[in-house]
Symmetry: C2
Subunit: 418 residues, 2 copies
């Protein structure tokens, strides 16, 4: 008899007695499994939220590299300061202005992708049991970080206009009455991951008010804001409140995630602590990647590149929505005005997590809705990411998905009829 070996299961762990309490909250990332699926060329992946970097003009990166090596070689190869390069921070000021955000260059810190900004913030604010409020559903990477900090994750009702201010106030007051400390609200207000919805201008003011009244710090995560398809989204929450909002941005979606360059704009006292935490964790953000981004911004038509991305992703979203209408009329979907994601609601009785292996057999991958909740919800939801495959393959993928879903629906109908 042969034995199947799985490294995680069969490894005897002689250090089990030694782990910190928080280590118990490290769970296997659904993202990791997805990366290995994605790498098989025959699978159309609607799973991982990856930009289409093939649409980036390689010549621009080469020019940026050559310019950097000619003018700032030794600087780029050396350690830098924990806050990040000053010129890049000035350039980021300009980018944030497109979102209505005015911030001092002193209050910006460069991070290893905006994921690490989120990690540093969570580490700074969350003791075990503290409450962080998030959208329902919320970004899987944020949920993972908050869980790792042993926080209580409270999902707040969210609809096509974003998170509900009334539900937010109600949940915060309920948690406070139960003796918990409500510390943070984490939001992706524009073309949210995973739902694709955008928080309305009116609700932004209400959310700011709810949090201000209760002393809750808002983390506004905005990786997708510049990738709008029709209308620009409303101004950032940070545009109206510099003291109550920490704003996160990233070059991962408008340039390249392989560089791992993001940033955070924070009130001065928080910024001071973030710099110390950044230095403690990694000494200094990668100077080389920062310089490359900085040269890219200074020599290229980066706004033109963003326009190219916007057109490309609009085309892919259209392909996804058309295919859904054609092949999956019984499935509900959000209709995002930008970004990478659609959020599907399956007919009652279907389970997206259980269905995933069948989908992979049909050579299509997606992320089950449960990944975006800290509380087990989302079983009849699917996140579709249309950003990475070609528009043609987005359609192929959804057609394959429809085969799996429709078969499940047929089975369900048969059972119900009996």
């Amino acid at each position: 008899m042969t034995q199947t070996r799985s490294s995680s299961v069969t490894n005897f762990d002689s250090w089990k007695h030694a782990y910190a309490a928080r280590a118990a909250n490290l769970s296997v990332s659904e993202v990791r499994a997805l990366f290995s699926v994605v790498s098989r060329p025959e699978v159309v992946s609607l799973a991982g939220g990856m930009p289409d970097v093939s649409a980036l003009d390689g010549a621009l990166i080469e020019e940026a590299f050559n310019s950097m090596m000619a003018s700032r070689r030794n600087y780029a190869l050396q350690y830098g300061g924990g806050q990040g390069d000053l010129r890049l921070r000035e350039q980021i000021q300009e980018i944030m202005l497109l979102d209505g955000v005015q911030g001092s260059v002193d209050d910006i810190m460069i991070t290893t992708g905006s994921q690490h900004a989120l990690e540093l913030l969570a580490d700074l604010f969350l003791d075990a049991g503290d409450v962080v409020m998030v959208e329902a559903p919320s970004y899987v990477g944020a949920v993972g970080i908050f869980r790792h900090k042993e926080a209580h994750i409270e999902h707040v009702f969210t609809d096509e206009d974003g998170i509900s201010p009334e539900a937010l106030a109600e949940a915060a007051d309920r948690m406070t009455a139960a003796g918990k400390k409500v510390k943070l609200l984490y939001l992706v207000p524009n073309f949210a991951n995973p739902s694709g919805v955008t928080l309305s201008a009116e609700r932004r003011q209400q959310v700011l008010q709810v949090c201000k009244e209760r002393g809750i710090l808002i983390i506004e995560d905005n990786p997708y804001g510049l990738l709008y398809f029709e209308n620009q989204p409303p101004k950032a929450l940070r545009a109206f409140d510099s003291e109550g909002v920490v704003y996160l941005g990233s070059f991962s979606k408008i340039l390249s995630p392989g560089l791992r360059v993001g940033y955070v704009l924070a009130p001065p006292a928080i910024r001071d602590k973030l710099i110390l935490a950044n230095e403690s964790a990694i000494l200094s953000p990668a100077t080389f990647a920062q310089m490359l981004v900085s040269e890219y911004l200074s020599i290229s038509d980066w706004k033109g590149q963003i326009d190219r991305y916007r057109n490309l992703y609009r085309e892919k979203r259209d392909a996804a929505l058309e295919a859904l209408e054609q092949y999956l009329p019984r499935v509900q979907t959000t209709k995002p005005n930008g970004g990478f994601f659609l959020w599907l609601t399956l007919p009652q009785g279907l389970n997206s997590k259980e269905m995933l292996p069948l989908a992979v057999t049909e050579l299509v991958a997606y992320t089950p809705g449960t990944a975006f909740y800290g509380d087990g919800r989302g079983a009849n939801n699917i996140r579709v990411c249309y950003s990475h495959p070609t528009a043609e393959n987005v359609k192929v993928g959804i057609k394959r998905l429809s085969k799996v879903i429709n078969l499940q629906l047929d089975l369900l109908d048969t059972f119900r009829a009996e």
Copy 2:
């Protein structure tokens, strides 16, 4: 009356009530202050532990970049897996073999410099109050991380042959008897930062034994091992124990710290958890930097480059020791056989931290010994880093330092005579 403004002091912090307990342990890094001093060209800095990247052949980086853009452009620009690139991990296997370390490619993980490996390990193992044993003195960046985790940092007696196994056993047993959990031993066994000393072959076996008997995990941090001047250091501790040692390496000193690429080799169960923690913190290590390092290793004579570094740093160490003998005969120094650092012991009565402003006035900077202790010791020690200035400037710096020290000694002698 004009007021001096210091951003950290005058910023009113409206979020003071909201920080996590561990945030109180974020202290202002002495490293940060040093970076701003370093950037003034008239100052000879013997402070920050920076490699001399001007000795790196820029053409090799350009070749590596061009090769990467030609063959793996889209891969380099995209997100990667949390463990890091497979080919780079294979290349790292080869590098570790130079240190006597045989490890499976499955057990290597790429990190954002080895600093982040240390952060992830500390987060994985240290609850508040847990004990981590370190050399006396120990690496400032490690001390900072352990303090941030609210650990008890226990400095163990260390001499020219490295940490003392007897003192290690005694301290561990004393801590255990006091009801504390002794979780980790953190070591830089080769050309230690800051002392420059190397753990002898005999003591390596004894240290392994002491830790094995007591269930203490060893973190072996080896950024300088390949930069030896005369004889290669003894084999790594990890070469003799794959279950009890986690081994850290880095490209910061043999290639470039601006790329932020390091690695960790860990027993499988720990490695599994580290990958999850890495994904949680940063999603994936920077693919772009990994590919650049990987191409560099595959197309260049990287061992020849390391030889160039070794010759260069040997020359600088010699310059430092000569200058010390000439200008500061009353100051004791370690005599390292590799790496970047000398550890000076000043005559009784001098305080290296109080003396630093005077030194900067004389246009020389160093790191006070107190930075390398978690318990206030080190006031009459100085770390001299000779790696970054030219050999000529190393001498100039030590001559300037002697002016400050000798003036202090004269003052002291005068007071004593009176």
